[in-house]
Symmetry: C2
Subunit: 312 residues, 2 copies
Protein backbone atom coordinates (compact mmCIF):
# COMPACT_ATOMS: atom_id res chain seq x y z
CA UNK A 1 0.00 0.00 0.00
CA UNK A 2 1.79 3.18 -1.18
CA UNK A 3 2.09 5.86 1.45
CA UNK A 4 1.48 9.38 0.13
CA UNK A 5 2.70 12.55 1.81
CA UNK A 6 0.75 15.66 0.85
CA UNK A 7 2.93 18.67 1.67
CA UNK A 8 1.07 21.85 0.82
CA UNK A 9 -0.24 25.08 2.25
CA UNK A 10 -3.61 23.74 1.16
CA UNK A 11 -3.05 20.33 2.82
CA UNK A 12 -6.58 20.05 4.16
CA UNK A 13 -8.16 20.82 0.78
CA UNK A 14 -5.93 18.29 -0.98
CA UNK A 15 -6.58 15.67 1.72
CA UNK A 16 -10.30 15.98 1.10
CA UNK A 17 -9.85 15.80 -2.67
CA UNK A 18 -7.64 12.71 -2.43
CA UNK A 19 -10.10 11.03 -0.07
CA UNK A 20 -12.99 11.84 -2.39
CA UNK A 21 -11.06 10.38 -5.32
CA UNK A 22 -11.07 6.94 -3.58
CA UNK A 23 -7.72 5.95 -5.00
CA UNK A 24 -6.88 2.28 -4.45
CA UNK A 25 -4.45 1.11 -1.74
CA UNK A 26 -3.42 4.43 -0.39
CA UNK A 27 -2.18 5.53 3.01
CA UNK A 28 -2.29 9.28 3.46
CA UNK A 29 -0.47 11.93 5.49
CA UNK A 30 -1.39 15.55 4.75
CA UNK A 31 0.27 18.56 6.32
CA UNK A 32 1.60 22.02 5.62
CA UNK A 33 4.26 21.63 8.29
CA UNK A 34 7.61 20.10 7.36
CA UNK A 35 8.31 18.95 10.95
CA UNK A 36 5.02 17.07 11.02
CA UNK A 37 5.78 15.71 7.57
CA UNK A 38 9.04 14.23 8.81
CA UNK A 39 7.41 12.83 11.91
CA UNK A 40 4.48 11.11 10.22
CA UNK A 41 5.50 10.72 6.60
CA UNK A 42 9.22 9.96 6.59
CA UNK A 43 8.58 6.47 5.19
CA UNK A 44 6.37 7.66 2.30
CA UNK A 45 7.03 6.48 -1.25
CA UNK A 46 5.17 9.36 -2.84
CA UNK A 47 5.22 13.10 -2.18
CA UNK A 48 2.47 15.28 -3.65
CA UNK A 49 3.37 18.83 -2.82
CA UNK A 50 4.61 22.34 -3.41
CA UNK A 51 8.24 22.50 -4.61
CA UNK A 52 9.02 25.24 -2.09
CA UNK A 53 8.27 22.95 0.88
CA UNK A 54 9.80 19.69 -0.34
CA UNK A 55 13.60 20.31 -0.20
CA UNK A 56 13.53 20.48 3.60
CA UNK A 57 12.16 16.94 3.93
CA UNK A 58 13.71 15.43 0.82
CA UNK A 59 16.96 14.04 2.33
CA UNK A 60 15.12 12.16 5.08
CA UNK A 61 12.60 10.27 2.92
CA UNK A 62 14.00 6.74 3.01
CA UNK A 63 11.43 5.09 0.73
CA UNK A 64 10.92 7.92 -1.77
CA UNK A 65 10.16 6.85 -5.33
CA UNK A 66 8.10 9.68 -6.83
CA UNK A 67 7.43 13.39 -6.28
CA UNK A 68 4.44 14.99 -7.99
CA UNK A 69 5.05 18.74 -7.90
CA UNK A 70 2.00 21.02 -7.66
CA UNK A 71 3.64 23.69 -9.81
CA UNK A 72 4.90 23.85 -13.38
CA UNK A 73 8.23 25.34 -12.22
CA UNK A 74 10.31 22.99 -10.06
CA UNK A 75 13.45 25.09 -9.49
CA UNK A 76 13.58 24.39 -5.73
CA UNK A 77 14.05 20.69 -6.52
CA UNK A 78 16.76 21.20 -9.15
CA UNK A 79 19.51 22.42 -6.86
CA UNK A 80 22.53 20.19 -7.65
CA UNK A 81 23.05 19.53 -3.93
CA UNK A 82 19.67 17.75 -3.73
CA UNK A 83 19.13 14.05 -4.40
CA UNK A 84 17.84 12.98 -7.79
CA UNK A 85 17.22 9.31 -7.12
CA UNK A 86 13.46 9.52 -7.60
CA UNK A 87 10.99 10.32 -10.37
CA UNK A 88 10.01 13.99 -10.47
CA UNK A 89 6.83 14.97 -12.32
CA UNK A 90 5.48 18.47 -12.57
CA UNK A 91 2.09 20.07 -13.20
CA UNK A 92 1.36 20.28 -16.89
CA UNK A 93 -1.67 20.72 -19.10
CA UNK A 94 -3.65 22.62 -16.47
CA UNK A 95 -2.31 26.15 -16.82
CA UNK A 96 -2.90 26.83 -20.52
CA UNK A 97 -6.42 28.19 -20.16
CA UNK A 98 -5.54 30.49 -17.27
CA UNK A 99 -2.40 31.69 -19.05
CA UNK A 100 -4.42 32.46 -22.17
CA UNK A 101 -6.87 34.47 -20.08
CA UNK A 102 -4.00 36.42 -18.55
CA UNK A 103 -2.00 37.07 -21.71
CA UNK A 104 -4.94 37.95 -23.95
CA UNK A 105 -6.71 39.81 -21.16
CA UNK A 106 -3.75 42.17 -20.92
CA UNK A 107 -3.17 42.35 -24.68
CA UNK A 108 -6.83 43.31 -25.09
CA UNK A 109 -6.56 45.83 -22.26
CA UNK A 110 -3.74 47.38 -24.26
CA UNK A 111 -5.22 47.20 -27.75
CA UNK A 112 -8.74 48.18 -26.77
CA UNK A 113 -7.40 51.06 -24.65
CA UNK A 114 -9.40 50.01 -21.59
CA UNK A 115 -7.48 52.27 -19.23
CA UNK A 116 -7.67 55.37 -21.46
CA UNK A 117 -11.38 54.92 -22.18
CA UNK A 118 -11.97 54.50 -18.45
CA UNK A 119 -10.16 57.80 -17.86
CA UNK A 120 -12.56 59.51 -20.29
CA UNK A 121 -15.43 57.95 -18.37
CA UNK A 122 -14.14 59.39 -15.08
CA UNK A 123 -14.12 62.78 -16.78
CA UNK A 124 -17.65 62.21 -18.22
CA UNK A 125 -16.21 62.65 -21.68
CA UNK A 126 -17.94 60.82 -24.57
CA UNK A 127 -14.85 59.82 -26.54
CA UNK A 128 -15.73 57.84 -29.69
CA UNK A 129 -12.13 57.09 -30.64
CA UNK A 130 -10.93 54.10 -32.59
CA UNK A 131 -9.12 51.39 -30.73
CA UNK A 132 -6.63 48.77 -31.85
CA UNK A 133 -7.26 45.12 -32.56
CA UNK A 134 -5.50 41.80 -32.10
CA UNK A 135 -6.48 40.72 -35.60
CA UNK A 136 -3.67 40.74 -38.12
CA UNK A 137 -0.96 41.04 -35.52
CA UNK A 138 2.00 38.68 -35.05
CA UNK A 139 2.82 37.06 -31.73
CA UNK A 140 6.08 35.32 -30.88
CA UNK A 141 6.07 32.59 -28.24
CA UNK A 142 9.35 31.91 -26.47
CA UNK A 143 8.67 28.31 -25.52
CA UNK A 144 5.87 26.17 -26.95
CA UNK A 145 5.03 23.48 -24.39
CA UNK A 146 1.48 22.85 -23.23
CA UNK A 147 1.05 26.47 -22.11
CA UNK A 148 2.54 27.92 -25.29
CA UNK A 149 0.32 25.63 -27.36
CA UNK A 150 -2.77 26.97 -25.63
CA UNK A 151 -1.62 30.55 -26.18
CA UNK A 152 -1.07 29.70 -29.86
CA UNK A 153 -4.63 28.37 -30.15
CA UNK A 154 -6.09 31.50 -28.56
CA UNK A 155 -3.96 33.68 -30.84
CA UNK A 156 -5.26 31.88 -33.93
CA UNK A 157 -8.83 32.31 -32.68
CA UNK A 158 -8.26 36.07 -32.63
CA UNK A 159 -6.68 36.13 -36.11
CA UNK A 160 -3.08 36.51 -34.96
CA UNK A 161 -0.09 35.01 -36.78
CA UNK A 162 2.00 32.82 -34.47
CA UNK A 163 5.76 32.29 -34.38
CA UNK A 164 7.27 29.79 -31.99
CA UNK A 165 10.82 29.61 -30.68
CA UNK A 166 11.70 26.21 -29.25
CA UNK A 167 14.70 24.00 -28.54
CA UNK A 168 13.68 21.60 -31.30
CA UNK A 169 10.00 20.68 -31.09
CA UNK A 170 7.61 21.64 -33.90
CA UNK A 171 4.50 19.84 -32.75
CA UNK A 172 1.89 22.58 -32.26
CA UNK A 173 -0.39 22.97 -35.31
CA UNK A 174 -1.34 26.52 -34.31
CA UNK A 175 2.24 27.78 -34.71
CA UNK A 176 2.66 29.20 -38.22
CA UNK A 177 6.45 29.19 -38.23
CA UNK A 178 9.05 27.71 -35.93
CA UNK A 179 12.49 29.04 -35.03
CA UNK A 180 15.31 27.40 -33.10
CA UNK A 181 18.79 28.03 -31.77
CA UNK A 182 20.59 30.79 -33.61
CA UNK A 183 17.45 32.08 -35.30
CA UNK A 184 16.32 33.94 -32.20
CA UNK A 185 16.65 37.42 -33.73
CA UNK A 186 14.85 36.35 -36.92
CA UNK A 187 12.09 35.03 -34.67
CA UNK A 188 11.77 38.33 -32.81
CA UNK A 189 12.15 40.77 -35.70
CA UNK A 190 8.96 42.73 -36.25
CA UNK A 191 6.83 40.98 -33.63
CA UNK A 192 3.85 42.91 -32.29
CA UNK A 193 3.80 40.82 -29.12
CA UNK A 194 6.63 38.82 -27.56
CA UNK A 195 5.55 36.36 -24.88
CA UNK A 196 7.98 34.34 -22.78
CA UNK A 197 6.68 31.09 -21.32
CA UNK A 198 10.20 29.83 -20.67
CA UNK A 199 11.14 27.90 -17.53
CA UNK A 200 14.26 28.76 -15.56
CA UNK A 201 17.07 26.72 -17.11
CA UNK A 202 20.69 27.33 -18.01
CA UNK A 203 19.74 27.81 -21.65
CA UNK A 204 16.95 30.31 -21.07
CA UNK A 205 18.80 32.65 -18.74
CA UNK A 206 18.76 36.26 -20.00
CA UNK A 207 17.54 35.14 -23.40
CA UNK A 208 15.47 38.35 -23.52
CA UNK A 209 18.41 40.72 -23.68
CA UNK A 210 19.33 43.98 -25.35
CA UNK A 211 19.95 42.43 -28.77
CA UNK A 212 16.56 40.75 -28.78
CA UNK A 213 14.70 43.82 -27.52
CA UNK A 214 16.42 45.91 -30.19
CA UNK A 215 14.78 44.04 -33.07
CA UNK A 216 11.26 44.55 -31.71
CA UNK A 217 9.31 47.44 -33.25
CA UNK A 218 8.46 50.50 -31.09
CA UNK A 219 4.83 49.42 -30.76
CA UNK A 220 5.76 45.96 -29.41
CA UNK A 221 4.53 44.61 -26.08
CA UNK A 222 6.58 42.11 -24.07
CA UNK A 223 4.74 39.69 -21.79
CA UNK A 224 6.53 37.46 -19.28
CA UNK A 225 4.56 34.59 -17.77
CA UNK A 226 7.52 32.20 -17.61
CA UNK A 227 10.35 32.99 -15.25
CA UNK A 228 12.10 36.25 -14.44
CA UNK A 229 15.49 34.64 -15.05
CA UNK A 230 14.78 34.62 -18.80
CA UNK A 231 15.06 38.42 -18.87
CA UNK A 232 17.98 40.83 -18.61
CA UNK A 233 15.95 43.13 -16.42
CA UNK A 234 18.15 46.19 -16.77
CA UNK A 235 18.05 45.89 -20.58
CA UNK A 236 14.26 45.66 -20.36
CA UNK A 237 14.06 48.74 -18.13
CA UNK A 238 16.23 50.60 -20.65
CA UNK A 239 14.06 49.48 -23.58
CA UNK A 240 10.92 50.64 -21.77
CA UNK A 241 12.41 53.92 -20.59
CA UNK A 242 13.68 54.79 -24.04
CA UNK A 243 10.37 53.73 -25.65
CA UNK A 244 12.24 51.23 -27.76
CA UNK A 245 9.20 49.04 -27.08
CA UNK A 246 5.73 50.26 -26.13
CA UNK A 247 5.16 48.32 -22.95
CA UNK A 248 5.45 45.19 -20.87
CA UNK A 249 3.22 42.91 -18.84
CA UNK A 250 5.29 41.21 -16.17
CA UNK A 251 4.06 38.48 -13.87
CA UNK A 252 7.47 37.11 -12.89
CA UNK A 253 10.75 38.68 -11.83
CA UNK A 254 14.27 37.68 -10.91
CA UNK A 255 13.48 38.52 -7.30
CA UNK A 256 9.99 37.93 -5.98
CA UNK A 257 8.30 39.69 -4.29
CA UNK A 258 9.57 42.50 -6.50
CA UNK A 259 11.76 44.68 -4.25
CA UNK A 260 10.30 48.01 -3.28
CA UNK A 261 13.18 49.86 -4.96
CA UNK A 262 12.80 48.01 -8.28
CA UNK A 263 12.86 50.36 -11.26
CA UNK A 264 9.89 48.48 -12.76
CA UNK A 265 7.48 50.09 -10.29
CA UNK A 266 8.22 53.52 -11.76
CA UNK A 267 7.71 52.76 -15.43
CA UNK A 268 4.51 54.20 -16.87
CA UNK A 269 4.15 51.61 -19.63
CA UNK A 270 4.26 48.44 -17.54
CA UNK A 271 1.65 46.22 -15.94
CA UNK A 272 3.00 44.37 -12.92
CA UNK A 273 1.24 41.35 -11.49
CA UNK A 274 2.36 39.14 -8.65
CA UNK A 275 3.14 35.68 -10.04
CA UNK A 276 -0.62 35.30 -10.29
CA UNK A 277 -1.05 34.63 -14.01
CA UNK A 278 -1.96 30.99 -13.42
CA UNK A 279 -2.22 29.81 -9.86
CA UNK A 280 -2.72 26.10 -9.33
CA UNK A 281 -6.39 25.16 -8.99
CA UNK A 282 -6.51 22.15 -6.60
CA UNK A 283 -9.20 20.29 -8.56
CA UNK A 284 -7.10 20.65 -11.74
CA UNK A 285 -3.98 19.53 -9.91
CA UNK A 286 -5.85 16.50 -8.60
CA UNK A 287 -6.65 15.34 -12.11
CA UNK A 288 -2.91 15.24 -12.84
CA UNK A 289 -2.15 13.42 -9.58
CA UNK A 290 -4.94 10.87 -10.00
CA UNK A 291 -3.84 10.00 -13.51
CA UNK A 292 -0.21 9.62 -12.47
CA UNK A 293 -1.10 7.71 -9.31
CA UNK A 294 -3.02 5.13 -11.33
CA UNK A 295 -0.01 4.81 -13.62
CA UNK A 296 2.24 4.43 -10.57
CA UNK A 297 0.24 1.59 -9.01
CA UNK A 298 0.02 -0.17 -12.37
CA UNK A 299 3.78 0.18 -12.80
CA UNK A 300 3.44 2.34 -15.91
CA UNK A 301 5.57 5.31 -16.99
CA UNK A 302 4.42 8.53 -15.37
CA UNK A 303 3.34 11.58 -17.33
CA UNK A 304 5.08 14.96 -17.17
CA UNK A 305 8.45 13.63 -16.02
CA UNK A 306 11.06 16.33 -15.42
CA UNK A 307 14.58 15.92 -16.80
CA UNK A 308 16.81 17.12 -13.93
CA UNK A 309 19.47 18.25 -16.41
CA UNK A 310 17.15 20.16 -18.75
CA UNK A 311 15.22 21.57 -15.82
CA UNK A 312 11.72 20.94 -17.21
CA UNK B 1 -22.93 50.84 -66.42
CA UNK B 2 -24.19 51.06 -62.80
CA UNK B 3 -23.59 54.41 -61.14
CA UNK B 4 -22.45 54.12 -57.53
CA UNK B 5 -22.75 56.90 -54.96
CA UNK B 6 -20.37 56.58 -52.03
CA UNK B 7 -21.77 58.68 -49.19
CA UNK B 8 -19.44 58.50 -46.21
CA UNK B 9 -17.33 60.55 -43.86
CA UNK B 10 -14.49 58.45 -45.24
CA UNK B 11 -15.47 59.06 -48.88
CA UNK B 12 -11.89 59.49 -50.09
CA UNK B 13 -10.71 56.28 -48.47
CA UNK B 14 -13.63 54.32 -49.91
CA UNK B 15 -13.14 55.89 -53.34
CA UNK B 16 -9.56 54.65 -53.38
CA UNK B 17 -10.57 51.19 -52.22
CA UNK B 18 -13.30 50.92 -54.87
CA UNK B 19 -10.90 52.11 -57.57
CA UNK B 20 -8.28 49.60 -56.44
CA UNK B 21 -10.87 46.81 -56.54
CA UNK B 22 -11.31 47.39 -60.32
CA UNK B 23 -14.97 46.45 -60.30
CA UNK B 24 -16.45 46.00 -63.78
CA UNK B 25 -18.65 48.64 -65.43
CA UNK B 26 -18.77 51.14 -62.65
CA UNK B 27 -19.29 54.88 -62.59
CA UNK B 28 -18.34 56.43 -59.27
CA UNK B 29 -19.28 59.49 -57.23
CA UNK B 30 -17.77 59.72 -53.74
CA UNK B 31 -18.54 62.44 -51.24
CA UNK B 32 -19.23 63.12 -47.59
CA UNK B 33 -21.52 66.01 -48.48
CA UNK B 34 -25.20 65.37 -49.11
CA UNK B 35 -25.60 68.48 -51.28
CA UNK B 36 -22.77 67.33 -53.55
CA UNK B 37 -24.30 63.84 -53.54
CA UNK B 38 -27.56 65.20 -54.87
CA UNK B 39 -25.83 67.34 -57.45
CA UNK B 40 -23.56 64.64 -58.89
CA UNK B 41 -25.17 61.36 -57.88
CA UNK B 42 -28.92 61.89 -58.06
CA UNK B 43 -29.20 59.37 -60.92
CA UNK B 44 -27.22 56.60 -59.15
CA UNK B 45 -28.61 53.08 -58.97
CA UNK B 46 -26.45 52.09 -56.01
CA UNK B 47 -25.65 53.86 -52.75
CA UNK B 48 -22.78 52.61 -50.60
CA UNK B 49 -22.80 54.66 -47.45
CA UNK B 50 -23.41 55.44 -43.83
CA UNK B 51 -27.05 55.10 -42.75
CA UNK B 52 -26.90 58.45 -40.95
CA UNK B 53 -26.19 60.35 -44.20
CA UNK B 54 -28.49 58.52 -46.59
CA UNK B 55 -32.05 59.62 -45.52
CA UNK B 56 -31.42 63.19 -46.67
CA UNK B 57 -30.72 62.14 -50.26
CA UNK B 58 -32.99 59.10 -50.38
CA UNK B 59 -36.21 60.73 -51.72
CA UNK B 60 -34.40 62.34 -54.68
CA UNK B 61 -32.66 59.24 -56.06
CA UNK B 62 -34.72 58.52 -59.18
CA UNK B 63 -32.88 55.38 -60.31
CA UNK B 64 -32.17 53.83 -56.90
CA UNK B 65 -32.15 50.04 -56.80
CA UNK B 66 -29.81 49.09 -53.95
CA UNK B 67 -28.34 50.60 -50.77
CA UNK B 68 -25.37 48.88 -49.14
CA UNK B 69 -25.18 50.25 -45.58
CA UNK B 70 -21.76 50.56 -43.98
CA UNK B 71 -23.12 49.72 -40.54
CA UNK B 72 -24.83 46.69 -38.99
CA UNK B 73 -27.59 48.90 -37.54
CA UNK B 74 -29.76 50.61 -40.15
CA UNK B 75 -32.30 52.41 -37.93
CA UNK B 76 -32.02 55.74 -39.84
CA UNK B 77 -33.33 53.97 -42.96
CA UNK B 78 -36.21 52.22 -41.21
CA UNK B 79 -38.32 55.29 -40.46
CA UNK B 80 -41.80 54.48 -41.85
CA UNK B 81 -41.89 57.84 -43.63
CA UNK B 82 -38.96 56.80 -45.84
CA UNK B 83 -39.28 54.94 -49.14
CA UNK B 84 -38.74 51.18 -49.17
CA UNK B 85 -38.78 50.54 -52.91
CA UNK B 86 -35.16 49.41 -53.07
CA UNK B 87 -33.01 46.58 -51.73
CA UNK B 88 -31.33 47.40 -48.44
CA UNK B 89 -28.33 45.35 -47.36
CA UNK B 90 -26.34 45.91 -44.19
CA UNK B 91 -22.83 45.13 -42.98
CA UNK B 92 -22.63 41.62 -41.63
CA UNK B 93 -19.94 39.08 -40.90
CA UNK B 94 -17.26 41.71 -40.31
CA UNK B 95 -17.89 42.74 -36.70
CA UNK B 96 -17.74 39.39 -34.89
CA UNK B 97 -14.00 39.42 -34.27
CA UNK B 98 -13.96 42.99 -32.97
CA UNK B 99 -17.01 42.35 -30.80
CA UNK B 100 -15.35 39.27 -29.34
CA UNK B 101 -12.27 41.33 -28.52
CA UNK B 102 -14.41 43.92 -26.80
CA UNK B 103 -16.69 41.60 -24.83
CA UNK B 104 -13.98 39.18 -23.70
CA UNK B 105 -11.48 41.98 -23.16
CA UNK B 106 -13.84 43.54 -20.62
CA UNK B 107 -14.91 40.21 -19.09
CA UNK B 108 -11.22 39.37 -18.60
CA UNK B 109 -10.54 42.83 -17.17
CA UNK B 110 -13.27 42.03 -14.64
CA UNK B 111 -12.38 38.41 -13.85
CA UNK B 112 -8.63 38.92 -13.78
CA UNK B 113 -9.04 42.04 -11.63
CA UNK B 114 -6.88 44.15 -13.91
CA UNK B 115 -7.92 47.44 -12.32
CA UNK B 116 -7.43 46.27 -8.73
CA UNK B 117 -4.04 44.70 -9.45
CA UNK B 118 -3.01 47.92 -11.17
CA UNK B 119 -4.01 49.86 -8.06
CA UNK B 120 -1.68 47.62 -5.98
CA UNK B 121 1.05 48.35 -8.50
CA UNK B 122 0.58 52.11 -8.09
CA UNK B 123 1.01 51.57 -4.34
CA UNK B 124 4.10 49.34 -4.90
CA UNK B 125 2.28 46.56 -3.13
CA UNK B 126 3.17 42.95 -4.11
CA UNK B 127 -0.31 41.44 -3.94
CA UNK B 128 -0.32 37.73 -4.83
CA UNK B 129 -4.10 37.35 -4.69
CA UNK B 130 -6.14 34.87 -6.63
CA UNK B 131 -8.18 36.13 -9.52
CA UNK B 132 -11.29 34.80 -11.22
CA UNK B 133 -11.53 32.89 -14.46
CA UNK B 134 -13.83 32.65 -17.45
CA UNK B 135 -13.62 28.87 -17.43
CA UNK B 136 -16.69 27.09 -16.13
CA UNK B 137 -18.89 30.17 -16.35
CA UNK B 138 -22.17 30.49 -18.27
CA UNK B 139 -22.82 33.26 -20.77
CA UNK B 140 -26.20 34.18 -22.21
CA UNK B 141 -26.36 35.81 -25.62
CA UNK B 142 -29.42 37.92 -26.39
CA UNK B 143 -29.37 37.55 -30.16
CA UNK B 144 -27.30 35.02 -32.09
CA UNK B 145 -26.66 36.38 -35.57
CA UNK B 146 -23.19 36.56 -37.07
CA UNK B 147 -21.86 38.61 -34.14
CA UNK B 148 -23.46 36.39 -31.50
CA UNK B 149 -22.09 33.32 -33.24
CA UNK B 150 -18.56 34.71 -33.03
CA UNK B 151 -19.02 35.53 -29.35
CA UNK B 152 -20.26 31.95 -28.82
CA UNK B 153 -17.13 30.55 -30.47
CA UNK B 154 -14.86 32.68 -28.31
CA UNK B 155 -16.80 31.67 -25.20
CA UNK B 156 -16.35 27.98 -26.02
CA UNK B 157 -12.64 28.54 -26.57
CA UNK B 158 -12.41 29.86 -22.99
CA UNK B 159 -14.43 26.96 -21.55
CA UNK B 160 -17.68 28.88 -21.06
CA UNK B 161 -21.15 27.33 -21.40
CA UNK B 162 -23.28 29.25 -23.91
CA UNK B 163 -27.00 29.94 -23.89
CA UNK B 164 -28.65 31.70 -26.80
CA UNK B 165 -31.94 33.60 -26.89
CA UNK B 166 -33.26 34.08 -30.41
CA UNK B 167 -36.52 34.66 -32.26
CA UNK B 168 -36.44 31.16 -33.71
CA UNK B 169 -33.02 30.34 -35.17
CA UNK B 170 -30.92 27.52 -33.67
CA UNK B 171 -28.11 27.40 -36.19
CA UNK B 172 -24.96 28.15 -34.20
CA UNK B 173 -23.10 24.98 -33.15
CA UNK B 174 -21.31 26.80 -30.32
CA UNK B 175 -24.58 27.54 -28.49
CA UNK B 176 -25.20 24.79 -25.92
CA UNK B 177 -28.88 25.55 -25.37
CA UNK B 178 -31.37 27.78 -27.15
CA UNK B 179 -34.29 29.71 -25.72
CA UNK B 180 -37.08 31.59 -27.48
CA UNK B 181 -40.14 33.71 -26.84
CA UNK B 182 -41.59 33.23 -23.38
CA UNK B 183 -38.53 31.41 -22.07
CA UNK B 184 -36.59 34.63 -21.55
CA UNK B 185 -36.42 34.33 -17.76
CA UNK B 186 -35.36 30.67 -17.94
CA UNK B 187 -32.63 31.80 -20.33
CA UNK B 188 -31.37 34.47 -17.92
CA UNK B 189 -31.67 32.60 -14.63
CA UNK B 190 -28.26 32.02 -13.08
CA UNK B 191 -26.18 33.50 -15.91
CA UNK B 192 -22.69 34.73 -15.00
CA UNK B 193 -22.63 37.02 -18.02
CA UNK B 194 -25.54 38.44 -19.99
CA UNK B 195 -24.60 39.98 -23.34
CA UNK B 196 -27.05 41.81 -25.58
CA UNK B 197 -26.25 41.91 -29.28
CA UNK B 198 -29.82 42.84 -30.17
CA UNK B 199 -30.68 45.37 -32.88
CA UNK B 200 -33.23 48.10 -32.30
CA UNK B 201 -36.58 46.62 -33.27
CA UNK B 202 -40.12 46.72 -31.87
CA UNK B 203 -39.62 43.28 -30.33
CA UNK B 204 -36.32 44.00 -28.61
CA UNK B 205 -37.30 47.27 -26.94
CA UNK B 206 -36.69 47.19 -23.17
CA UNK B 207 -36.23 43.42 -23.24
CA UNK B 208 -33.59 43.88 -20.51
CA UNK B 209 -35.99 45.04 -17.83
CA UNK B 210 -36.46 44.67 -14.09
CA UNK B 211 -37.88 41.15 -14.29
CA UNK B 212 -34.94 39.93 -16.34
CA UNK B 213 -32.31 41.66 -14.19
CA UNK B 214 -33.93 40.16 -11.08
CA UNK B 215 -33.17 36.57 -12.10
CA UNK B 216 -29.45 37.27 -12.59
CA UNK B 217 -27.19 36.33 -9.66
CA UNK B 218 -25.44 39.09 -7.65
CA UNK B 219 -22.08 38.35 -9.32
CA UNK B 220 -23.50 38.72 -12.86
CA UNK B 221 -22.11 41.16 -15.40
CA UNK B 222 -24.30 42.68 -18.11
CA UNK B 223 -22.68 43.70 -21.41
CA UNK B 224 -24.51 45.71 -24.06
CA UNK B 225 -22.96 45.84 -27.53
CA UNK B 226 -26.30 45.85 -29.39
CA UNK B 227 -28.54 48.88 -29.04
CA UNK B 228 -29.45 51.00 -26.02
CA UNK B 229 -33.14 50.62 -26.82
CA UNK B 230 -33.01 46.98 -25.66
CA UNK B 231 -32.51 48.13 -22.08
CA UNK B 232 -34.81 49.70 -19.49
CA UNK B 233 -32.05 52.02 -18.39
CA UNK B 234 -33.63 53.08 -15.10
CA UNK B 235 -34.14 49.42 -14.12
CA UNK B 236 -30.48 48.79 -14.95
CA UNK B 237 -29.32 51.77 -12.87
CA UNK B 238 -31.43 50.42 -9.96
CA UNK B 239 -29.98 46.91 -10.33
CA UNK B 240 -26.43 48.30 -10.32
CA UNK B 241 -27.03 50.72 -7.44
CA UNK B 242 -28.59 48.02 -5.29
CA UNK B 243 -25.84 45.52 -6.22
CA UNK B 244 -28.46 43.18 -7.58
CA UNK B 245 -25.86 42.54 -10.27
CA UNK B 246 -22.12 43.08 -9.97
CA UNK B 247 -21.50 45.35 -12.91
CA UNK B 248 -22.12 46.38 -16.49
CA UNK B 249 -20.13 47.11 -19.61
CA UNK B 250 -22.08 49.49 -21.79
CA UNK B 251 -21.13 50.55 -25.30
CA UNK B 252 -24.58 51.74 -26.41
CA UNK B 253 -27.27 53.88 -24.83
CA UNK B 254 -30.75 55.14 -25.54
CA UNK B 255 -29.29 58.60 -26.10
CA UNK B 256 -25.83 58.96 -27.61
CA UNK B 257 -23.59 60.70 -26.78
CA UNK B 258 -24.56 59.75 -23.23
CA UNK B 259 -25.92 62.96 -21.64
CA UNK B 260 -23.69 64.57 -19.08
CA UNK B 261 -26.34 64.16 -16.39
CA UNK B 262 -26.83 60.44 -17.03
CA UNK B 263 -26.83 58.39 -13.84
CA UNK B 264 -24.56 55.83 -15.52
CA UNK B 265 -21.54 58.13 -15.20
CA UNK B 266 -21.76 57.97 -11.40
CA UNK B 267 -21.98 54.21 -10.95
CA UNK B 268 -18.78 52.66 -9.60
CA UNK B 269 -19.36 49.22 -11.11
CA UNK B 270 -19.80 50.23 -14.75
CA UNK B 271 -17.50 50.51 -17.75
CA UNK B 272 -18.76 53.01 -20.29
CA UNK B 273 -17.47 53.08 -23.84
CA UNK B 274 -18.59 55.26 -26.70
CA UNK B 275 -20.25 53.07 -29.33
CA UNK B 276 -16.71 51.96 -30.14
CA UNK B 277 -16.98 48.20 -29.59
CA UNK B 278 -16.76 47.46 -33.31
CA UNK B 279 -16.24 50.35 -35.65
CA UNK B 280 -16.39 49.62 -39.36
CA UNK B 281 -12.98 48.89 -40.88
CA UNK B 282 -13.12 50.16 -44.50
CA UNK B 283 -11.17 47.21 -45.94
CA UNK B 284 -13.58 44.79 -44.25
CA UNK B 285 -16.56 46.80 -45.47
CA UNK B 286 -15.17 46.70 -49.00
CA UNK B 287 -15.15 42.91 -49.01
CA UNK B 288 -18.90 42.97 -48.31
CA UNK B 289 -19.52 45.60 -50.99
CA UNK B 290 -17.40 43.86 -53.62
CA UNK B 291 -19.16 40.54 -53.08
CA UNK B 292 -22.59 42.13 -53.27
CA UNK B 293 -21.65 44.32 -56.25
CA UNK B 294 -20.61 41.24 -58.22
CA UNK B 295 -23.92 39.63 -57.32
CA UNK B 296 -25.74 42.80 -58.40
CA UNK B 297 -24.15 42.99 -61.85
CA UNK B 298 -24.78 39.28 -62.36
CA UNK B 299 -28.43 39.75 -61.38
CA UNK B 300 -28.12 37.45 -58.36
CA UNK B 301 -29.72 37.79 -54.92
CA UNK B 302 -27.72 40.05 -52.65
CA UNK B 303 -26.35 38.93 -49.29
CA UNK B 304 -27.34 40.47 -45.96
CA UNK B 305 -30.69 41.82 -47.11
CA UNK B 306 -32.59 43.74 -44.43
CA UNK B 307 -36.29 43.05 -43.84
CA UNK B 308 -37.79 46.53 -43.38
CA UNK B 309 -40.50 45.13 -41.11
CA UNK B 310 -38.22 43.07 -38.87
CA UNK B 311 -35.64 45.84 -38.81
CA UNK B 312 -32.58 43.61 -39.42
Amino acid sequence: MPKVLILSKKADEYRELVEEARLPDLELVATSDTAEALEKGVDCEIVFGEPSLIPEVLPALTNLRWVQAMWAGVEPLLDPSLRRDYTLTNARGIFGGLMSEYVFGYLLTHERRVMELFQSQLERRWEPVSTGTLRGKTIGLLGVGSIGAHLAGTAKHFGITVRGYTRASETCPDVDSYYHGENLLDFATGLDYLVSVLPNTVETRQIVDKSLLTVLPPHAIFVNVGRGSAVDESALVDALNSKQIAGAVLDVFKTEPLPEDSLFWDLPNVYITYHTSARTVPTDMMSVFVENYMRFVRGETLKYMVDFELGY
